[in-house]
């Protein structure tokens, strides 16, 4: 299990114990973290699972692929540290990761 903290737009935090091998999106959905809608189920096709990566973790989490980058372009409130959580795999290296969730994914 890997500990990931999700910070909602109103500042409330949720600590989620995520299974290694799942996507961060799936771990968030399993824990019922609000506003991770993931309408396409993790196919990198809807941009409704956007998260903002804590700047301290950017290097470890890594950059989006070209396809993810294109999808992020249609996400509302994209920021330089935006990722699609369905495209981040939970690994041991992410233990302690902090992510922020946008107010709405629509």
């Amino acid at each position: 299990m890997v500990a990931i903290t999700f910070i909602a737009h109103d500042g409330r935090t949720r600590l989620v114990q995520a299974d290694i091998g799942l996507s961060v999106m799936k771990a968030a959905r399993n824990a019922d973290v609000p506003n991770i809608d993931a309408e396409c189920g993790g196919a990198c096709s809807c941009a409704t699972c956007q998260v903002y990566v804590d700047p301290a973790w950017l290097e470890i989490v890594g950059l989006p692929s070209a396809a993810e980058d294109a999808m992020l372009d249609q996400a509302p409130q994209r920021r330089p540290n935006s990722r699609l959580s369905c495209q981040i795999q939970v690994t041991a290296a992410l233990d302690g990761l902090t992510l922020s969730v946008p107010e709405s994914q629509y």
């Binding site: 019922d32 189920g41 809807c46 993810e68 980058d69 372009d73 249609q74």
Partner: protein, 425 residues
Amino acid sequence: MTISTIPPEPGESPGRFGVVIVGGGHAGAQAAGALIQQGYTGRVALVGDEADPPYERPPLSKDYLAGAKDFAQILLRPAAFWADKGITLLTGQRVVSVDSGAHALRLQGGGVIGYDTLIWAAGGRARRLSCSGHDFAGVHCIRTRADVDALAAELPGVERVAVVGGGYIGLEAAAVLTKLGKSVVLLETQDRVLARVAGAPLSRFYEAEHRAHGVDIRLNTTVSAIEGRDDRATGVRLADGTLLPADMVIVGIGIIPETDILQSAGATCSNGVNVDEFCRTNLPDIYAVGDCAAHVNAFADGARIRLESVQNAVDQAGVAVKSILGHPVAYHAVPWFWSNQYDLRLQTIGLSGGHDAAVLRGDPQTRSFSLVYLRQGRVIALDCVNNARDFVQGKALVAGGLAINPVALADNGVALKVLAQPIVA
């Protein structure tokens, strides 16, 4: 038919609910979750005829078939979610009749469930072949987890697979099975694969890709019988008499929407359960959403259609829920869809049916390109292969029904978002 006059045995029936959702697929699961999320306080029941809690269907013909994802990974929600949210999940339960006057439905086995509002999200069942041998062992379809588990259990002993149908399911299955080392022949009655859903250049591209991976694609080919021994398939007999030996036959020829029960209850049906822009059927307090809902779609030139997609399932579920909660919003969502085959990622926006022109953006040889469909000069759809940027940026063109010069569209060097800008004089 009056269900309410036949009282259920004590303890046999789950009782009465504010909202009963029939169908545990994407649409049903989304509706249940959205009701709770949006503050609905009545009792909610989700009734499905499959044994499992709601799961994602698209991976059945992709990662789940390939063994790259296990079942836990494709569950839409963890198994405990439903009870945690106070949703009564009734799995393995088949609805056999609906009494719209009594606001009740009957389950196989006799249980009766009352409802204030019913959401019919029952989807469809895989269409079967009707020729002789269609029910032999070794003949499979891909619609449910059980279908794929049965198919996968036989795979170790299978060398040759015949796939009947060159639509998305057939092509995705062919891609997976070829990569698993099986010898695959794919049979399509039309003169190209994806004939119902895409333009010819896309069909030709996918045919070439599959052939390059070793799939034997036969077009203009009709199956006349499944040949077998001891009621187990051994091959496929074609209309021209050819016999293609096969240890397994996979039939991917579409679905039959689950309309019979609602139709018997008095629902107006066409190629599905007819619904209005709020997903209401003509029956009181009964909605229909997802694969089985025949709705007027603005992106199909106003035709009444069914859409078999996650997008439609999710968005119509949302429309039904908003209407139930007293904040009706008409269904008006740009259709989108995806298909993964080999390392090719197809993303579709809009509906290409009825196009009168198709413009190629980029070179298919590079395996990254788009096909833009127009009707009377207006963009109605894009098929984007390994080209998420066009998929994303093309949405505005389809949503607005923009008229764009085909010559400009064909210039892959100009981003679609630039073309979507209004021209300022």
